[in-house]
Amino acid sequence: MSPRQAFAPLLDFAAPAGYRLLPFRFARIPGVPGKVLVTSEVGEFAFISEEDLRALVAGTLDPGSNAYADLQARHVLVESNSHAAMRMSTSKYRTRKSFLKGGPALHMFVVTLRCDHSCRYCQVSRRSGDEARFDMSTDTAAAAVDLMFQSPSPSLTVEFQGGEPLLAFGRIQQVVDLVEERRVREGRAVTYSMTSTLHLADEEMLAFMRRHDFQLSTSLDGPAALHDANRPLPSRDSHARTVAAIDRVRATLGHQSLSALTTLTRESLRHPEAVVDEYVRLGFPSVFLRPLSPFGFAAKSAGRIGYAMEEFLPFYEKALAHIVDLNRRGVVIQEAYAGFLLTHILTPFPIGYVDLRSPTGAGLGARVYNYDGGVYASDEGRMLAEMGDHSFRLGYVQDSHADLLQSDAMQLILAAGVAESLPGCSDCAFLPYCGADPVFNLAREGDPVGHRAGNAHCTKHTGLFQILFRYLAEADPEVMRIFLSWATRRPARGLAAAVGEAA
């Protein structure tokens, strides 16, 4: 006996009366002809035709079309009375902005300004190695730790910076001891990290860092000739010392504990493949291709070593193509910044990276305790201070967390640090993946809002997003797996086998 039941056709379930638009933005990507990139408020995207875009806006998109369903599923359009669509959208928005919960999590301690290097692009006003007055005092360090624990963030990252922080190793030990004493009592998860050349890391220091599970970041600009030209030592052997330090650190702390990043000079731009290959040769799974920063010494020597972002982008595109090609051949290497951007593009989750957020990470996600007791909203903010502009000084280590958040500097940041409210940014299709950088704008243009239409921050990011979306429009299955593995920090499926063959 077959069950009797009348079934209604699909059309009976179509929405009765039209659709509404939720906020969305769009862009035409050079190199992607005939398609328009549409991004939702929470960063979901689709490539649609020009005709569909016009119909979408006119309210005449055919409910039976794939484009209609694709845009409805992404909550670009919603049908009347869909509370579920709004609930999903608000939930995704909260997730995207969840980095705002908890307050500053990244706390940078500039334990000394001294350094043994005299790099041409140095972002910090370095001092020669023997001037102890450029070290953080014990009182300042203790007050800074107190102030850090006033942040309500359940997890804290303590990052040691310089100068060369290992020149003030005693201060590092003091800070770690103070933090260790409090973190368990206060129920905080603490991660230690340090940016250092590591040349001075001896056995005792390495054992200490291993005990406290340090994440280390060092500078590696590429092959020896390039690295040594960029990073002069009197002994002219910075590259050799860095490679030796990498070996020592890996032997003691393990491979996972060490990453490296580049600073790219005008000379570097001629060698995209060589820079990447040096990272592969030294066994790094990631390379961070960083253009020069407009701060500190870098600004003064911009003429000799600097370049425009328009010159950086072709370099980046070549380097990225080389990296993709390496991965296709089974060599696992990622570009770190592309990893951040792709996490924003391909996942519903935010990232820990504080330099590309809206609201900006400066002061809200991070702060810097300078050697002299000044507290700054970001590393760039204290570099600007070294050049005489204290706009981003939140206060001093003796102040309270509340004082810092009520400071003039914080007001300045909040007024100019929300990309959604900045002219130009508010209409940009890449907004959901990008961030506001009032510190950069003030440094470059003397104004925290700045003229983003043509500035380096916007030129760089627009260019990077266009490069990445060209790949995403093409959607080569292998490239998608590679990009996804960067965005989700998981191994790329189907490419691991090739590693075995290559090895």
Binding site: S2, A69, A84, R87, M88
Partner: protein, 396 residues
């Protein structure tokens, strides 16, 4: 495939229709009340003192292949089963005193044990394998409340199915409480369309399932119209999504189920991205081939698509989620009609009591890891891709 029903002869008057069948040694040591235990006495077993068993308070004797019953004069006796292999020790059976029907309600060692909660449903899915009936079936819940204390407490997982279990109102929480009390170690896997959980007060009522249950909720499209069409209920997509969110906000574990057929296929490619963006918290996603029963048979022409023709799209969809860290499975699609890249996600998903293989499967090198077919699978549902694998081919 081992059926769940057979017939027996019953001598004497059973004190209770729902009984646990246990061997003598286990019966003497069990925590189950003796008046709910039928003592399993195989032919050729040791001599047993029936009077002593009666004195101990056992409910009945269970002699599957036994002939006449000398014991029937002392204790009630269930004997002479038409298919003795249907009932084993540890099983819980329902025995009809009047006509000798024996139904296995719980089978020890089965690959799945499922409680059937109700025949009522508020959806009418095009491919429903268990078409709802609007009859008063509260007796089922009463029987399940008798059954739950007799289930082995070391059971890893127990399924709830229907019908739509939330239509039971306060009886669903009562069943959850019974499981929490008698089966504290057992995970529950509960099939529901989730629609009623769009009411937060309904979601509040199932707190006893927290930490022990997975709510398996079907979603058949990333857009309302197609999902509502497949389940034949306007507003269902809206309610199910709200239900998923209400359960997730209360800390419940959620599985999403997607049945692949011609009416869901148009959104299969985009569906996983919707889950990833909007429900990345789900613990599992299952993409399922159809069970050719009930409405599925009626709507065969509307639904049928040879799995061979959607295998690649299905594989891409499943990996889309698996690659993003959401555990994903493919159910009910035999390996020979799936592309090999999808094999790592394919599971032996069909309950053993309704699981069969084709004659062609004999000698197939991957039969041991293949789901095979539903027993209801017939020529109208046969993929043109069905074939055995040679050992060498499969090893590649």
């Amino acid at each position: 495939m081992l059926p769940l029903h057979t017939r027996a002869k019953v001598s004497g008057t059973l004190p209770h229709p729902v009984l646990k069948v246990l061997g003598l040694a286990e019966a003497l040591g069990t925590a189950v009340p003796r008046d709910r235990v039928a003592v399993h006495l195989p032919t050729g077993g040791p001599e047993v003192d029936f009077a002593a068993l009666q004195e101990l308070g056992f409910a009945a004797l269970f002699r599957p292949d036994g002939g006449t019953a000398a014991g029937g004069t002392v204790l009630p006796e269930i004997h002479s089963l038409s298919h003795p292999e249907v009932v084993g020790t540890g099983d819980v059976v329902r025995v009809r005193q009047d006509n000798g029907q024996v139904g296995v309600l719980y089978r020890r060692g089965a690959n799945a044990n499922t409680l059937f909660l109700t025949e009522q449903c508020n959806s009418r899915c095009l491919m429903c394998s268990q078409p709802p009936r609007d009859e008063d079936d509260l007796w089922r819940v009463r029987e399940l409340l008798e059954l739950i204390p007799l289930v082995d407490p070391d059971l890893a997982q127990l399924g709830f199915t229907g019908g739509e279990p939330t239509l039971l109102g306060p009886l669903l929480p009562e069943l959850l409480r019974a499981c929490a009390a008698f089966l504290p170690q057992t995970g529950l896997h509960i099939l529901t369309n989730g629609r009623n959980f769009s009411d937060p007060t309904v979601a509040d009522m199932v707190g006893d399932a927290l930490g022990r249950a997975t709510w398996a909720i079907p979603l058949y499209a990333d857009v309302p119209a197609r999902h509502d069409y497949v389940v034949q209920a306007k507003g269902a997509f809206e309610q199910t999504v709200q239900g998923v969110y209400n359960l997730a906000e209360r800390g419940h574990v959620i599985e999403i189920r997607f049945v692949v057929h011609a009416q869901t296929l148009p959104r299969l490619r985009e569906f996983p991205e919707f889950v990833w963006r909007n429900m990345p918290f789900v613990s599992h996603v299952a993409f399922m081939g159809m069970e050719p029963m009930g409405y599925a048979k009626v709507n065969r022409n509307l639904l049928w698509v040879d799995p061979l023709d959607y295998g690649h799209c299905l594989s891409e969809a499943a990996w889309h989620l698996q690659d993003r860290g959401i555990p994903t499975s493919i159910y009910n699609v035999p390996l020979c009609v799936l592309p090999e890249e999808a094999w790592p996600l394919a599971r032996q998903s069909i309950s053993d009591w309704k699981n069969t293989y084709e004659p062609a499967c004999d000698g197939c090198a991957v039969k041991q890891s293949c789901c095979g077919f539903f027993a209801s699978h017939g020529p109208a549902w046969r993929s043109r891709g069905i074939k055995p694998f040679e050992r060498m081919e499969a090893a590649e």
